[in-house]
Symmetry: C2
Subunit: 252 residues, 2 copies
DNA sequence: CGGGCGGTTGATCCACGTCAATTTAGGTGG
DNA sequence: CCACCTAAATTGACGTGGATCAACCGCCCG
């Protein structure tokens, strides 16, 4: 069976797969410069799964038997400490690998992943990781770049938590989300994922209360528009100024 | 020229190289399961450099033309923010790769690396990275594991900064250093590297003042012994208890 | 022996976390 | 379609951990 036959077959055999843009997947940075044949075999060897908002893909501590690629939608990866405090490790965007414990030499998942929007994922058994890395140098370097990218993001976050106050951190976090998961629609940028105040707090190392207070203040200044589990950036420039540390007064 | 001839030659041509345990380098996790011939070629293609305490290997922002392997000694990697605040990104231990900007798709070094002990490093031009990764699958996976390891450490740090108070964080940091760079010598564990209060502060996201106060308090309780740029753990169990959050009173 | 960096220690202050009470928005089932 | 229920969000009052400011000490090195 060729890849195209495979795709053709999928489309009528499983409604969840209708609308998957396989061409776009093939152009992901992760798969850059990978021989078409190998890539198609790889994609065919994975299975597609649909995840509804709020549904979990894997849980913290669970034995890791698969790794994943987010095709469409949005996921949150969270961790809970022994004392019961939460942190939001990262937001997963389309095209991102996630839950790749084997690369980290772990046998369990270090966090829990929950869909923050209706999502479509591709899953492979762990064994595929090893073989695919070893048989395909391109993919190995691409995967390494992806992890390297995340390492840099983690360092950036450490830098922010260590040196910036809550307002700046929150502004930074929201700007980043707007960049990565924002949908421009005439009236500002809508964040295309479900995020509670608690999530934002867990992302910026603060409390839901501080987040709430700041968002309220910003809303009254017309910088953002925030409702229950939703958020819209109205004045990106002002937000950027806050992120840069210019906590100006409202006399323009 | 064979590897052994190469090593033999080095030993009389450069006094800095005397005493390098090449056998030990060959058994590094990074080089695990790598064909001997390729590994020897790789080692031969790098150059050895000796770094004195306080000396810098590279500076933040400098164009990255080489990547490095720490053979012996200890390095600190620091970052300075635009506002002039410092963070200590990590401590480099023997066997660690560092300054590998190419893997992160950067053309400059994101931080500055300074020797915190007399150190010996191996350097390669960046081009070697690409070729060595692509021709040697083993090395690629090993390197990825190493980076994955660091990603997990970064996440652990984020978790600590976000959820633990200064005392616990500092206890954790010192315990980790004792584990990685500690030298047991009859009377506690001596940390084999130069670390100022400011360094410890930059490592735990606090101020030199808080670090100083805590160390003073701990010293009076016989948990540590701290002097100018040096540190010794006397009571690891107590320190561990502090790290675990048991802030007991001194009635034993 | 003097200058400077690293360290200590006290006094003060405030950004934020904590605690507590209330409101609001969805979702759900009758 | 409304009434109810629960989770999310808001808002105020309060307390405090730890940052900041300031003064001083003392070990090293030149």
């Amino acid at each position: 069976m060729t890849f195209d036959e495979f795709v053709g077959q999928l489309e009528w055999s499983d409604s969840a797969l209708v609308g998957i843009d396989w061409q776009q997947i093939r152009t992901l940075p992760l798969f850059a410069e990978m021989p078409t044949l190998e890539l198609e075999q790889l994609l065919m060897s994975g299975s597609v799964r649909q995840i509804y908002t709020g549904q979990k893909v894997f849980r913290q501590g669970q034995v890791a038997e698969e790794f994943f690629l987010l095709i469409d939608g949005r996921l949150k990866v969270t961790q809970t400490t022994a004392e019961g405090r939460h942190i939001l490790v990262r937001v997963v965007h389309p095209g991102d690998l996630f839950g790749f414990a084997p690369a980290l030499q772990r046998h369990d998942y270090p966090g829990t992943s929950v869909a923050a929007a209706k999502s479509l994922i591709l899953c492979w058994p762990n064994a595929v990781w090893t073989s695919m890395i070893e048989t395909n140098a391109r993919l190995a370097t691409n995967a390494m770049k992806a992890i390297g990218q995340r390492l840099q993001e983690a360092h950036a976050r450490i830098r922010e938590i260590s040196t910036e106050n809550v307002e700046r951190r929150l502004a930074h976090a929201i700007l980043r989300l707007a960049e990565q998961a924002g949908q421009e629609d005439g009236n500002g940028i809508r964040l295309d994922l479900i995020l509670t105040r608690l999530d934002l707090a867990a992302l910026t190392s603060t409390t839901q209360h501080s987040v709430s207070r700041l968002l309220s203040a910003w809303e009254s200044q017309g910088i953002v528009e925030s409702g229950r589990q939703k958020l819209r950036v109205l004045d990106k420039a002002r937000l950027q100024a806050l992120a840069d540390g210019q906590s100006w007064d409202n006399s323009d």
